[in-house]
Symmetry: D2
């Protein structure tokens, strides 16, 4: 059997304890350090997972030749310097969402990892839930056909964040999932963002993102901190079938509907009217696949180890994180332009 | 008791039979004629409601001095000539949604009705359902406080219409309801529309409308003909309470949540940080009001009669229909501009 | 094509208009008469379906040689004399539930129909809904395996009936459906009934029926007039799969779960402990079959005509009605005995 | 402030860790020992809660004068000897459900605690959930009026237990809740039990309990290990309002319906027919109270400490546990008698 890889968790705030616990319990990993500027916080996290070395000096972690990898769970604005330093020190890196606080910074991180031949993984945790893994598999197998639209709603009475708006807080989940399940990733050319701040908090608390897909389809996201009821629902329409993921219905999270509109193939020359005549409706069965059990973050830890050992990209790699970041940055631009569509910057890679 | 008013139903297509049946059964009305260019169709409708005179000549209806009012249920592009002729003949008019096929035409109809002192009513049927009447009342009574956002979803596997897109087919419902329940009506300055036609039918089958509200809030509509599941849900967030209307849950259509975010009043000078400190969350009771029974169209017929007798505007008057029309027209403009926000034309009234 | 059969509807009360409308609109039938002691009521029903001859004299109907069949929708206590007279006059008969007001009367009707070679059909309308037809088909095809239990809940805020208790009012639906879908019909040897009349109305308003099934399973019915919420749900557990029918969920009425407990086959000699070791759990997919559209009563009318033409028993024949009646009568006996199990009388057929 | 009380948890199986964790974290308690015949198991539990002394000798715990109380989480058949020994040693005792494996044993425990003036508490954990505490309060305040019926369904695909049937496994939850919320406790004179074992496991896997309530009402329980779907629902009908508790709907666990049947007060002499004339229906609002947060077992630990300090009975005392036990024992008797109603033995207290 392979030896365990040594990892340090950097950042002992909200998400750090989850990372620490999962790397501690994963057979592929040895939790070699918990690092936080606040040593008391680092110690608390280390103790909560059954003990681990702690330090307040990042340099100590990066100069330790036994440490193979670093998991970064610090505030987004610090991702760039920490990740660059870690890559320069030869460490593989997994980093919390969002990848960075700007597309340029994120692109630099992706480029540096490529130069050094290191794994840079985005911790898009949701992508490793049984539901999303199944959705990706169904789409990849052609079960839904070509994707016509993908609509995601993520609303609840949420904590108004002090430093980010509702787009940067919630939409990374929807965008990273879309990027993960769509065959070509979240390949959009522009985004229109509409936000509202009716309580005058200084940032959007309600948000909508509309993104035309190649081929005439559309991806749309609705995020909202002010809804009294909680909804976590994604509808993915395809030419063959349509899928609904309702994450709050544990008895039937994923439903696949063999219902839809069929358009008979017609020759180029045929007019719209003829086309209308070729529309028909299917009202077939519904099917809800059984889903495996398992904590998503455990899969994340395993995937990170596998990518390192196999010298390959992680399934949610830096480029995936960068695509999400590009949409968020363009969305901020669209917001400033009152919702006019904003082109995404040319891909860095 | 008052004498019955005589009404003619013009147009014996999809909606005509419902109008005929309701005017036939309403104690305020006498169904004096069913008029359609296709006399066979007119006769079929008249018979289905227990008998009524039929004609294929509109002029016959308009020249009959005993006929007080006309209900127009013909295709949208014919609304303008028929309604103008009816008004010129001194008839009160109720007209199907949308009011007309252009804002200019609609504005002309509203102006003509005003000049002649006649009632011009928009048949916004949904507004007269027990649920919507209750919602309007709750908002008018200040029960929700100031409105922060209003989000409407109306999706299902729908008939792809030959002549209109999904905006013109479905959104009039959402927009007319918003106009009815919001204290100042649907008073929006601009609209951004995002549509998709992934099946290449020649028109949008999926659509999103975003409309900033005065005061920093937002109104949003999602309409979709390609969803395998049916959703009819509207969330209306207020400073005091939030309301969810789920029209497909007959056991609890309207729920009012005493949950939300409170922001303590702070002085002008206070910074955003201080503001954040003044945010608190309410997690109070939920309340679902009992709703009266009754068919909405019966209320429509009664309201039309009352407006005529009392010499007042109908609750859903021509101006309401015109506001809906203005949004739809601007939405079409926004679509042509790839979703860039489109200012509504200056109100005609 | 066959000529239409002539039918008379006897009884113009609650259910009569539905029968009249369906026989009027069915291509196999001609509605030859509506008969009620109250001729005004008969006339009102005839008019509501577009016109039909009326009479207040049953003898007139029975002596008319052109009338082939009679549909009886009078109060239960009058079923026996009317049906016997109709059979003696050589008419085929369809009769409302319950078949009669006593098992003895019902058995006499079944025997007489057999002697005369006439069709006696029980109008178990629910059995002809798309959902129940599908359930019967799935069970008959062995899709659920052997039936382990069948549990039915039918509760809502219901009209307290003046003449019957909640068992005789609601349970005929559940019992007739069970009889229809179970491979051998509702073949139970005894029934325990528990009723409650907490409002002192003089009859049970809440009721439970427990019926052991051959092979160790159980059938159970819960009926209730006092529930503020409406539930119409049946769970049918089988050795292979389990089915849930939720009649109030139009988007997914029938769900089939490939979940359950498996017991490996063990030899006779094996002890219980060993048996426990052979238990395993399946957590497979869920599947919701598409259901055809269509009004159940239209199928009832067609089935009645087919049975007559083909000289065969109807799918819900008199014997089925008699089995339901036998359970209800035994239930009444059990109630009088404080819920002690009551054996069903020996089957009459 | 009071000093912490010392408690020993006896039994380190399924439930022991939860008790240990809650007593460890409760400010009123000091976890003084974890005791199990299997010292390895005891040690594992002690470690999982952050450390505590362990022992395999019950006598050591009972002879320790610093230990005030004992929490017993061993198999039901050992409750009697352990609890009696603990009481004789002067310890207050909290014991898992069911109180004992027979009514006689349970009654002896209750009597012994009374003689010694010690607290004997039944760990009816569900009673201390926010939902059940609220239900008890609403009923006690007369909000529902007099109770007409109480119907509980607790079904899911459950582990078939090696030593107990579905009644003894699941029904203690329903019965202890009913005992807790009904004003006079679960005061029933008899019970009818219907069970089924269609998989031939040697014990009931499906069960129904019917219990007439004084005043003409009924309590009913449905428990089932073979249902593919999970239902946890209780309906409590009252003369004023009806309450539905749906434990699997976190967004609205408790709903109170102002719907029901009203019977006008009539004089003694009035006949049933007149009574029918006085029935009317209410279709009022629905209300869902906000529920406090909090783990039920934390409340259990606090209540146990308070009862000891205040020298009073716990809210779920030994007598409550005995009432539940009496019903279960009578249910077993009814099962042996094919479901005939079984009188409960005269209360021991």
């Amino acid at each position: 059997m392979d030896e365990r890889l040594n990892i340090a968790v950097v950042g002992a705030g909200y998400w750090g304890p989850n990372l620490a616990r999962n790397f501690r319990n994963n057979p592929a990993w040895n939790l070699a350090a918990v690092c936080d500027l606040d040593i008391v916080r680092a110690r608390r996290v280390a103790e909560s997972v059954g003990g681990a070395p702690v330090t307040s000096a990042l340099s100590e972690v990066l100069s330790d030749p036994l440490i193979t990898a670093v998991a970064v769970a610090t505030p987004a604005r610090t991702h760039h310097p920490i990740v660059m330093a870690a890559l320069d020190a030869g460490k593989h890196v997994i980093v919390e969402k969002p990848l960075a606080d700007s597309r340029v910074s994120g692109a630099a991180m992706v480029a540096r990892a490529a130069e050094r031949g290191l794994v840079l993984m985005a911790d898009h945790t949701y992508c490793y839930t049984p539901a999303v893994l199944k959705i990706r598999e169904l789409i990849a197998d052609g079960f839904l056909g070509d994707i016509l639209f993908i609509d995601s709603v993520r609303i609840n009475l949420g904590l108004i964040q002090p430093d980010v708006d509702v787009f940067w807080d919630l939409a990374p989940h929807d965008l990273s999932i879309m990027d993960f399940v769509l065959p070509g990733g979240l390949d959009v050319a522009s985004v229109s963002a509409h936000g509202a701040d009716p309580l005058r908090t200084g940032k959007s608390c309600i948000g909508y993102l509309a993104m035309p897909l190649a081929g005439g389809g559309v991806a749309h996201v609705h995020v909202n901190w002010l809804s009294p009821t909680k909804i976590r629902q994604m509808v993915i329409g395809g030419t063959r079938r349509t899928l609904v993921w309702d994450d709050l219905n544990p008895q039937q999270r994923v439903s696949v509907y063999d219902r839809g509109v069929d358009i008979a193939e017609v020759s180029q020359a045929t007019a719209t009217d003829a086309r209308a005549a070729n529309i028909s409706y299917r009202l077939g069965d519904t099917w809800a696949p059984a889903l495996a059990e398992g904590e998503a973050l455990a899969h994340v830890a395993s995937e990170f180890a596998s990518a390192i050992r196999e010298g390959r990209q992680a399934r949610t790699n830096g480029a995936a994180g960068l695509r999400v970041l590009s949409v968020l940055e363009a969305a901020t631009g669209s917001l400033l332009g009152d919702g006019a569509p904003r082109l995404l910057s040319a891909p860095a890679l």
